[in-house]
Assembly symmetry: C2
Homo-oligomer: 314 residues x 2
């Protein structure tokens, strides 16, 4: 019953960078055991996802949800043919990741001083200086580094974020040696005109679109419209979180990652290839939602999943 | 803190056709008293909405939620400067609406035979023949008629809906004398390529974009991306439901009207004028949600509203 209608101004293929196991579970209240995470990641891989951000090698005390990185990562050894990037906050984290055989890593920068202080406890400049040897070391090891830039559009303390600030941080990360940038709308406030403005400014500053991924949050319901706008600009790597993990359907403070299923419904409908099977992906999200004991906030997951408690069916 | 970034390929002004009091409340389980509806509509008008679909003059036994149309409509007499269209299913309904002074009406056609049978208990052709004298009578009275076309993209029984079927029904409605078409994605399955294809086909069939409104449901999270696509095509009238009324955040069967607040967040961010104040609109939706006893499914409403039960804030 799913109709396919191409739009020739959009790319023919998109790579989904699945962030559910890391960005999603990091922002869930529940602490999920490593065995459950490993099973979830295998189910995501079985659904066809080629890039699954697996965990973060932060100090275990910082993020209890991801404190089991050393136990989890070896459980994924059989996923040779997948990209399993891991977040590394500093050199110590990179050493731990490399010791376990990680072949892709990511660093997490901020476009704003307020969030750099809140999240990294240092200024933007200090955090970039901290990342310099991390990226350099990874490059020597031929391990590609993704550079996240958070708060690219709005910041809860500073309001609107000037495009020039994002461009400056993006250029510094590229100069350090990151192979891909992920532009984050961490509080989900962006609208399509801002997306086009930032992507255009980055191109003008010499950052090619091929090195840019987008990472939208659905806090204000804008994530898919913004993603469509980025695709129209030529972006072909999109971050999303299976089942909308990390966003609570009932809580105001939902971080609200774009749900991979909502993204995939659009991409499938547009005839854009991803290699991901929606039914298997939905089944994986429903399985994890059962473990978490709450429904997925993804509209597509809810629409595709029979709900025995649905009082409107009576 | 809200950033504004124009996109020159989009219109400078959009008229929101607010459907919450009719399409929204018709699909809510609760039966809301006329006094509460009247207060809600006044609050929506105070927020700046210029077009508010007030109710439906169907037989009271068909839709108990809207059985109070005769009581409700006179309570809106002071809203002289607003457009308050009402749905009329047949000549009897039109007579009732005209007797109360309605100055705009709407008829509700289907692009598919299955939904025409299920919803109107007659074929597409029989329903169009039923509407012919209704539209003719309204035109004589100088009362503009909006023609809804439901199931324009997908149908739960028939699957994908051929563009030609929608075009045929749309042309018939225009020939009957409707002044505006509202293209409905009643089950929320459409993706942007389908939107462009249908709008293009309608233009080629002689239906100008100025006479087309779009009516998307957010069942699969696609409503805003589809709306953006329609705006890019030149559409300037968009249907939406305050607070996402008519869509239940917990139920699979959510009809999932696009929430007016989610739409307005995007339009405000794009610098597109609507005349609507987001804070006042959100307050109206929160007020009604309090009456209904459940939170709004609108992501923007949830993001803007303090939630004392938000366990993630601890």
């Amino acid at each position: 019953m799913k109709a396919v209608a191409r739009d020739e101004s959009l790319p023919t293929r998109v790579r989904i960078h699945e962030v559910g196991p890391r960005d999603g579970l990091q922002n869930e209240k529940a602490i999920v055991p490593a065995e459950v995470k490993a099973e979830f990641i295998h189910r995501l891989a079985d659904a066809g996802l080629t890039t699954i951000e697996a965990t973060s090698f932060v100090h275990p005390a910082w993020i209890p949800q991801l404190a089991d990185a050393e136990r989890l990562f070896p459980m994924l050894d059989d996923l040779h043919d997948r990209r399993l990037p891991v977040l590394v906050p500093n050199e110590r984290g990179l050493d731990r990741a490399l010791a376990l055989g990680a072949r892709e890593v990511a660093v997490f920068a901020s476009a704003t001083e307020s969030f750099a202080q809140a999240n990294l406890n240092r200024s933007v400049e200090e955090s970039l200086r901290m990342f310099a040897p991390v990226v350099a070391h990874a490059v020597v090891e031929r391990v590609p580094v993704r550079g996240y830039v958070s708060m690219c559009f709005g910041d809860p303390w500073e309001g609107e974020v000037p495009v020039g600030r994002v461009v400056a941080v993006a250029r510094r990360l590229i100069e350090l040696g990151v192979s891909e940038l992920s532009l984050g709308d961490t509080i989900g406030v962006a609208t399509p005109g801002q997306v086009t403005a930032l992507l255009t400014a980055l191109n003008e500053a010499g950052v090619p679109t091929e090195r840019i991924a987008v990472h939208f949050h659905d806090t204000y319901g804008q994530a898919l419209a913004n993603t469509l706008t980025a695709l129209r600009h030529g972006v072909t790597t999109v971050d999303a979180s299976a089942g909308g993990l990390g966003g609570c359907p009932y809580a105001k403070s939902a971080t609200g990652n774009l749900a991979t299923e909502d993204l995939l419904w659009m991409l499938d409908g547009l005839g854009i290839e991803t290699g991901v099977d929606l039914d298997r992906l939905t089944a994986a999200s429903v399985w994890l939602a059962g473990y978490l004991g709450r429904p997925s906030p993804s509209r597509t997951v809810r629409a595709l999943t029979p709900d025995p408690t649905d009082s409107h069916e009576e």
